[in-house]
């Protein structure tokens, strides 16, 4: 089993998802089931194959260097759970 409970906790923290203590074992099982399902990929010969980087081959278009947006602070904070003077408010972040 590649994923043990310690890994589940580490991954959950990386993903910033709180886990209840009783979820951990169950989640480890599920993740292992999914990893077992994808295990057969290891059998594929991928020597010299380029990983896909763009689904449709095309040239990336670029935008002109023109200011087209901004001055919509009301809209930017319209859905914010906590805001003051157009700032987003979060619990104090210790540097």
């Amino acid at each position: 089993m590649p994923v043990d409970q310690a890994i589940v906790r580490r991954i959950a923290h990386l993903a910033r998802i709180e886990l209840a203590a009783d979820e951990v074992a169950h989640l480890a099982c599920e993740l292992n089931a999914i990893l077992a399902f994808v295990e057969e990929l290891g059998a594929v010969d991928v020597e010299g194959v380029e990983p896909m980087t763009s689904v449709m081959p095309m040239r990336m278009k670029e935008r002109a260097d023109v200011v087209t947006e901004g001055n919509i602070a009301d809209a930017i904070v319209a859905n914010a759970p906590a805001t003051e003077d157009h700032y987003f408010i979060v619990p104090k972040v210790v540097e």
């Binding site: 763009s54 670029e62 935008r63 260097d65 200011v67 809209a75 930017i76 408010i89 104090k92």
Partner: protein, 495 residues
Amino acid sequence: MTTQGRPSKLIKGATGDWEVVIGMEVHAQVVSKAKLFSGAAAEFGGAPNSHVSLVDAAMPGMLPVINEECVAQAVRSGLGLKAKINLRSHFDRKNYFYPDLPQGYQISQYKNPLVGEGTVSVDVSPSERIEVGIERLHLEQDAGKSLHDQSATESFVDLNRAGVGLMEIVSKPDMRSAEEAKAYITKLRTILRYLGTCDGNMEQGSLRADVNVSVRRPGEPLGTRCEIKNVNSIRFIGQAIETEARRQIGVLEDGGVIDQETRLFDPNRGETRSMRSKEEAHDYRYFPDPDLLPLELDQAYVDALAAALPELPDAKKARFIATHGLPAYDASVLVADKETADYFEAAVAHGARSRDPKAVANWIMGDVAAYANSVGLSVPQTHLKPAQIAALVDLIAAGTISGKIAKDLLVILIEEDKDGDPAAIVEARGLKQVTDRGAIEAAVDAIIAANPDKVAQAKAKPSMLGWFVGQVMKSTGGKANPQAVNDLLKGKLGI
């Protein structure tokens, strides 16, 4: 590259010599109107969240579209660093959570940067030049800003900076002293300013440096390095390196080991300290950003940008030496700031007349620079115009005024008649040098007649001549031609 110890750079420890090895990661804000992936203004400042688009705020369903000028600026910078431009690069996501990082990831270039290896020639002193290797340059997004001083319990987040284009420029560990590191960042800043790709303003954070420092015994392999984050002035870079090197030497000489970690320089306390809180479980899970395609450039596009590059400091310096006949030192000083170099050339060429470039350089680097310094400006930022400097030099060259009067004239231009034409001031204030032999002779005669005792002494002691010259100049208000005064006095005093 410079891997052996340079004996002059070694630091004496309690148990012998140490060599400090320095590499730098510089974050240079791209000069552009709009942000790297959105149409919001990249301009510094602004009311909170006013330079923010829906993309910058990472609203659901928002997508990045790259700004062509940011790409061009990064390519120009790469060319200016004599670096390899990669015609195919791509953008990766660097995933981490932070309130000023709205997407939950920074779009950066991790695996395939836009610019590869290059090099910067750095004059550490008039007699010492080193080559610092560039490892890579890539484009990435800046983060927003969290303000911590508005409330005891809350931080305030402003996303105006979020998404502004940055160039991360990574050097090789090719520097061996704080002086070299300071000279490198100074030169790098000069090059970027010449290119117009970064304004180099360290106070506003347009140029920020993370400094990697390690120490080792000369000839030994590289030691463990510490990264000093976000040092925001050239002076502090020097101080941070010296402080950190001494700390590491102390630890090693006491039998300890250096932990690879991120540290913060505190200029008030003169120490670096560990930022262990930031170290926690870093696993950025880089992967290619699926919202973007690979960045593909044509060689013709790169060639066109290369052809349009301005003259860079090294080339300008060589030209100043070759065509203006300047000493290497003068040329270095003048080209360190592009505007000053332009100012110098404007003064030399003003009015389509040629004048002695060295004389112009002397004024710009001497009295004019002293004045500019005293008011906290660079020479080109002062009100003094290249035309005024040119006129000053011309007046001296023509013998119209003496060097002494020229200094007075400069003071007038600085303090009283700021837009004044030097020739007109000389005329109006009667500052013209007296070259009429008769008038000078009359003054000489008067001084000789008034000081018979001194005349007698002078015959025995020829160095008294200086006293007589001074008296004559005084009586003529400094306007007598010093050479004529000398000649006449020598004859009349018989010395």
